[in-house]
């Protein structure tokens, strides 16, 4: 089966659950920004949950199917087959020549398209996730462009889920957990990070989300000796404006870390649109 890109949208890349075997060598984890939705997309069509899917960013683009297939789109956007609106988060049968159109409709940043079988993609450090900075993985290491044609091979099939309930509302309060330098921050910052609302800046992408609207004081030194970081980490550089490390973030960093987003909430945080407000709450282990 082939899938032809008629319009690539804002940024569409092949992503799976990412890679951890390169973390000691500077290779970021990568993978879907909202893992829960990626797993769900695969479950709906009966794929292994870690199969590569398409991650569609905001305006998701248009795609033509070269054959009959079973697909699913997970997320909170508006999805059409030809001109008919179809149900999200459910299994959909498509026919040869059908055109899929996805738009986030201002509800969340990422939607995921799964196709029954396995999208052929380049592996890099054990994962098919596209890593644009190194131009590796996925489809020639880059986002999809008009005219690209993806091949979908038959894959291992599991029993598929018919329909899944996905909350239409983004989790409004994101849980954060202590990080290595949490105790080095003044108490005022530890309070303020959960009392204030932060705005997701337009300068946010798969590497990191900058937060604005509220500045933190930061630690006395402002820097640390570089050490290993994980996605979800909230760094506070000397400017006081926090940066949240996301899927493609560097594996090491030298800014103090006030906290880290709970892995179960990281996808909900990733869905925040530029300009959207976010609140945090401390989560005790």
């Amino acid at each position: 089966m082939k899938l032809e890109v008629l319009h690539p949208g804002l940024s569409t890349t092949i992503q799976d659950s990412g890679r951890v075997n390169g973390l000691a060598y500077g290779v970021p984890k990568g993978g879907a920004m909202d893992l829960k939705l990626m797993y769900l997309a695969n479950r709906l069509v009966g794929n292994t949950i870690t199969n590569p899917v398409l991650e569609l960013t905001m305006q998701g683009g248009r795609y033509r199917f070269g054959g009959d297939s079973i697909i699913a789109v997970t997320g909170r956007g508006d999805v059409f087959i030809n001109s008919d609106k179809i149900e999200l988060n459910s299994r959909v049968f498509v026919s040869k020549g059908d055109v899929l159109r996805v738009n986030s409709g201002g509800k969340g940043r990422y939607n995921y398209l799964s196709l029954q079988g396995r999208i052929e993609a380049e592996e890099f450090w054990g994962s098919c996730s596209t890593y644009e900075l190194a131009k590796k993985g996925g489809y020639n290491g880059r986002k999809l462009e008009k005219g690209d044609v993806l091949s979908i091979k038959k894959g291992l099939q599991n029993e598929s889920v018919l329909l899944a309930e996905v909350s239409m509302v983004n989790k409004s309060v994101i849980r954060i957990v202590k990080a290595p330098e949490s105790d080095d921050f003044p108490e005022k910052d530890v309070d303020q990070i959960v009392k204030s609302s932060f705005k997701v800046s337009p300068y946010s992408n798969r590497m990191g989300y900058r937060l604005s609207e509220c500045l933190l004081e930061g630690t006395s030194s402002g820097n640390i000796i570089s050490s290993g970081c994980i996605p979800g980490t909230i760094q506070v550089p000397s400017s006081g404006a926090p940066i949240v490390l996301m899927a493609d973030s560097p594996t090491t960093g030298g800014y103090p870390r006030i906290g880290v987003i709970h892995p179960e909430d990281l996808g909900d945080f990733a869905q925040k649109l530029p300009g959207e407000m976010v609140k945090f709450k401390w989560f005790e282990l």
């Binding site: 202590k178 050490s227 090491t252």
Partner: protein, 231 residues
Amino acid sequence: MKFEVKPYGTDAILLSFGDEISLDVHNQVKQLYAELRNYAKKGIRAVIPSYCAVTILFEPAVISSKDVVELSKNIVCNNKSQKYKKYKVRIPVCYDKHFALDWEVVCDYTGLKWEEVVDLHCRNEYLVYMLGFIPGFLYLGGLNDQIRIPRKSSPRLKTPVGAVGLADNQTGVYPLETPGGWQLIGNAPVDLVGANTAVVEMGDYLEFFPITKKQHTSYSKQIERILVYET
């Protein structure tokens, strides 16, 4: 050597050996990293070594953070049994002025002739303290003080793949095309990123050797990694 346990979310912890960069601390980090990698099937998902710490990602359903700490303590206490291997990596560098975009700045700042700069850069043996920042980026120690130079006041928007640079007490190779503020002194026709296995490991020793522009063009991109000794 003792470490401090720092919490890091629900499925990671950081073990810190203080905040002083030294060979002793590096060897301790290296040993812990090497040993912990053998516990992948027991819930250790990944280990990120750095100058003075290791960040450990674990599977909470398989191993608790308490048990990760216990395991690490045992490894650190039993370090006598550790086999020690030394690998050396040789990186070819073309110091031709075609690649050495900042050669004049470096000569002016250091008061050295270009040939002297090249000689000093090739003479020392460097220790790979850690990898990070971007794939294949090596944090090297051991730069000769005479060729220390501050980074550029405004970074280049694009630094080519393989660019070799100087910045303060560091030297290194850009494995990817990225923006960068280092003073460029040459280019290494090698692939440091790899595709599935490590090209260079933390703890390796490294030396640069000069090649001509012609050799640069025909170089295979492969890096020589030689076992120097084992005890």
